[in-house]
């Protein structure tokens, strides 16, 4: 029976592959749909936090039935990695504030996470809004794109990539 360390490594390896695919999709022309790009970023982040939680002793079985771990745990993981990289606290604080907001937005990209119906927007399936208008991911303007293009976005992506590499 695999122990928590084996699960952590397994999640980390899958996170690395998901992040690499997210990055490869950025390179393609004609451009890949934003919803598909972000789907792999969401998947990478979810597996990163699950790898971290397994490494901290969380029962792997308790992690398998939910996608809602990113908003709470990703900022913790990235803060720990920033400290490890001896990132100056004053600078890190600004980046990590952005990471907290980004983590909340990445979490709701999963269709199963909708904040009690308040955030039905997601990367995979159509949804309707309060006015009963139909929206589809292909045409939706996703908030994480703006956050990633902001000055702190690159540092956040570096922290995500570095944190994944640390767990391998």
């Amino acid at each position: 029976m695999p122990d928590a360390a084996a699960w952590a490594k397994g999640y980390a390896r899958q996170a690395e592959a998901d992040f690499a695919l997210f990055q490869r999709l950025q390179r393609l022309l004609p451009p890949v749909n934003t919803c598909h790009q972000l789907m792999f970023l969401q998947m990478a982040c979810e597996k990163l936090v699950k790898a971290h939680l397994c490494g901290q002793g969380t029962d792997p079985k308790s992690l398998q039935s939910s996608h809602a771990f990113i908003a709470g745990t990703l900022p913790v993981v990235l803060r720990a990695h920033a400290i490890e990289m001896t990132f100056e606290p004053r600078k890190a604080r600004r980046i990590l504030q952005g990471a907290k907001l980004l983590a909340q937005e990445i979490e709701v990209l999963a269709p199963a996470v909708n904040r009690a119906g308040q955030r039905p927007d997601n990367c995979e399936y159509p949804w309707t809004d309060d006015a009963d208008l139909l929206h589809i991911p292909l045409e939706w303007s996703f908030t994480p794109v703006n956050l990633l293009e902001a000055p702190a976005g690159r540092s956040i992506l570096k922290l995500i990539q570095g944190a994944i590499a640390n767990l391998l």
Binding site: L25, Q26, R27, L29, P31, I95, P151, R154, S155, L157
Partner: protein, 84 residues
Amino acid sequence: MRYSGSPSIEFMPSEPIKLLEVNADTVPSGVMPLHFGPSVASGIIFPSVIIEVTPEEYDKIEKNELRLPEGWQTSEDLSKPNEI
């Protein structure tokens, strides 16, 4: 600072624009290329790859203590102009 690969590949539209950005506020994590897709709304119609490093890391790159990816060579300095 703009970097280029070999002339034979740089003319291809699919070849990303290569940028090395020295940023005192970024996390020190070595040479970590990040790919970004075109952002037509922002006027960026080609994919890009950005390596963001701290000034200390850039010093190491200049001393060959940190290596850039294969094929990256200096093309053009895109430093911000001095403030007036």
